[in-house]
Symmetry: C2
Subunit: 328 residues, 2 copies
């Protein structure tokens, strides 16, 4: 039995989900829901309806799982608890500090209405979180390190774009090689924010803007750049579009820990991602989670879940027998 998916919100993430559905034979796209005028939204899959958000309830019996593809700042805190009243849902809520609150809100409506709601799926939160959990459970005496990059930070790029005189910008988060090497060697270094990552900015100026002033304003911006070694490159709009229009990302989760009666043996567990497209990878995780949501739902489960709660086999299209024979 296929899983019929609804996509709610059709930006980079929604389009990524649409692409990922095409790569999974047991998944099918039923409809895309948008706040925009559906006339102006053109999707990739032929023959699939684009509907206004207001019509979503009409699809209640034609959709197994809705993947919520809105933003974490304002969309998901409202949408996930709301749609979990009527559908099994999956989201990629990624404001780490607010996850407990989001989980509680979603759990309430999902449990009351008997739906499964998988939240915070993606790679961080998501696959990186899973690797922190597994590594910590195996090596309780040890230390975790998470490095991000090299990749585009949307939030930091947006922050630069808000600086006066900036026409366009892309910001890359870059892990510091020396820090990464020390962690991998099991040295358990104490690392400051500045020692772990640098920030590299590619900025297009508006005509007549003062480059020195813009650079100074970026480098001293609190929270975003002040605590980092930041490099600013001024480039043309053409160069930005040509060389910096992708959305690559990735990073590393490393745990180094000890075992043995006298803690004499050291072990290093490393998980690494190199992603050409951050939203498409996140979307691929969301679709695997939609499969798990559908399975949990068929078993009669309800409530908010995260990747921490999902038996890994539920994410895979293979049967238990196949998984044991081929992958174990």
């Amino acid at each position: 039995m296929n899983t019929r998916i609804g996509i709610l919100g059709y930006g980079n993430l929604g389009r990524g989900v649409e692409c990922a559905i095409r790569q999974n034979a047991d998944m099918e796209l039923s409809a895309v829901f948008t706040r925009r005028d559906p006339e102006n939204v053109s999707i990739l899959t032929e023959g699939v309806a684009v509907c206004p958000l207001a019509k979503v309830m009409e699809w209640k019996d034609k959709i197994d799982v809705i993947i919520l593809c809105g933003g974490s700042a304002t969309d998901l805190p409202q949408q996930t608890p709301e749609y979990a009243k009527y559908f099994h849902v999956v989201d990629s809520f990624d404001t780490h500090a607010r996850i407990p609150e989001h989980f509680a809100n979603v759990d309430l409506t999902a449990k009351e209405s008997g739906h499964i709601a998988i939240i915070s799926a993606g790679w961080d939160p998501g696959m990186f979180s899973l690797n922190r959990l597994y590594a910590g459970a195996i090596l309780p005496e040890g230390r975790d390190y998470t490095f991000w990059g090299r990749g585009v930070s949307q939030g930091h790029s947006d922050a630069i774009r808000r600086v006066e005189g900036v026409k366009n910008a892309k910001q890359y988060t870059v892990p510091v090689k020396e820090a990464l090497d020390a962690v991998r060697a099991g040295e358990n270094p104490e690392l400051t924010t500045r020692q772990k990552h640098t920030r590299e900015c590619f900025v297009v100026l508006k005509e007549g803007a003062d480059a020195a002033k813009v650079e100074e304003e970026i480098k001293t911006m609190p929270n975003y750049f002040a605590d980092y070694d930041t490099t600013v490159h001024f480039i043309s709009e053409e160069e930005l579009l040509k060389n910096h229009s992708g959305i690559p990302h990735g990073g590393f989760v490393i745990r180094s820990g000890v075992t043995g009666w006298e803690k004499e043996n050291r072990h290093v567990i490393e998980y690494q991602l190199k992603l050409d497209s951050n939203p498409e990878f996140t979307s691929s995780v969301l679709v695997a989670c939609a499969r798990a949501a559908h399975r949990l739902a068929r078993e009669g489960g309800a409530g908010a879940k995260t990747l921490f709660d999902l038996p890994p086999a539920y994410l895979s299209a293979m049967s238990g027998e196949e998984l044991r024979a081929k992958l174990l």
Copy 2:
């Protein structure tokens, strides 16, 4: 409530489990069971009983989970289905080709008697398998590679020791750097057995043995060495003990796959282990699985399980709230 563990079999793995229990505040060692004369078995933990195997049934109400630390060739195929009749059990059965059969045998007795039996826990099968599953579920169009090493292969070391004229030996499995680099770069190379790993042997000869003959016999040994580029170093027994008495191991699971409407974006997922002690790392996974077994048992679960079936949170000593707040 602590998980009271029994260790059955006290070799490298059993001792590793004993050490791992000490690192987990919610685990306690109740007893060690051995086929040897308990008088001759001295364990590390003070005040814990060492008992003959025949007495294990007397511990039925004093043990929550037995970790079976025997070998996969002859011990576990018999022991796991047998002890699953009376106890919740965990094993590290690692003969990949026979896992489906072992699973079926264990599932039968565990289900009949209402016990949880987690089989094939460790790192391969185990954490490597999990990473193959997750990566394949996220990137269905892609390719998996598993590299082992640099590390000691017990089976290959044993095979060398059976060669006439050999007094002692250690064999290291070594991944080929060029192959690893090509895989990491997402090149999806076709790799033969020979192109993926080399084998490095450190051999101590018996007095009067013919080195050239021994080397030839090792290098042409079918299944073990004939398909690999093998290097043989003859060293003294002192050197072997001094430089090659550890049991390090590790390796890499890498999946490279594509996403996007035209499969235009590439992603590489890599999981890497560097282990000073192969048995102690395996033991650490076994103890985390004992925690999961105890939880599943308290929920009334029964039957054979693998890491594929365990919600990751069940492996961790942290509560769901803690995990979401700290690791998600």
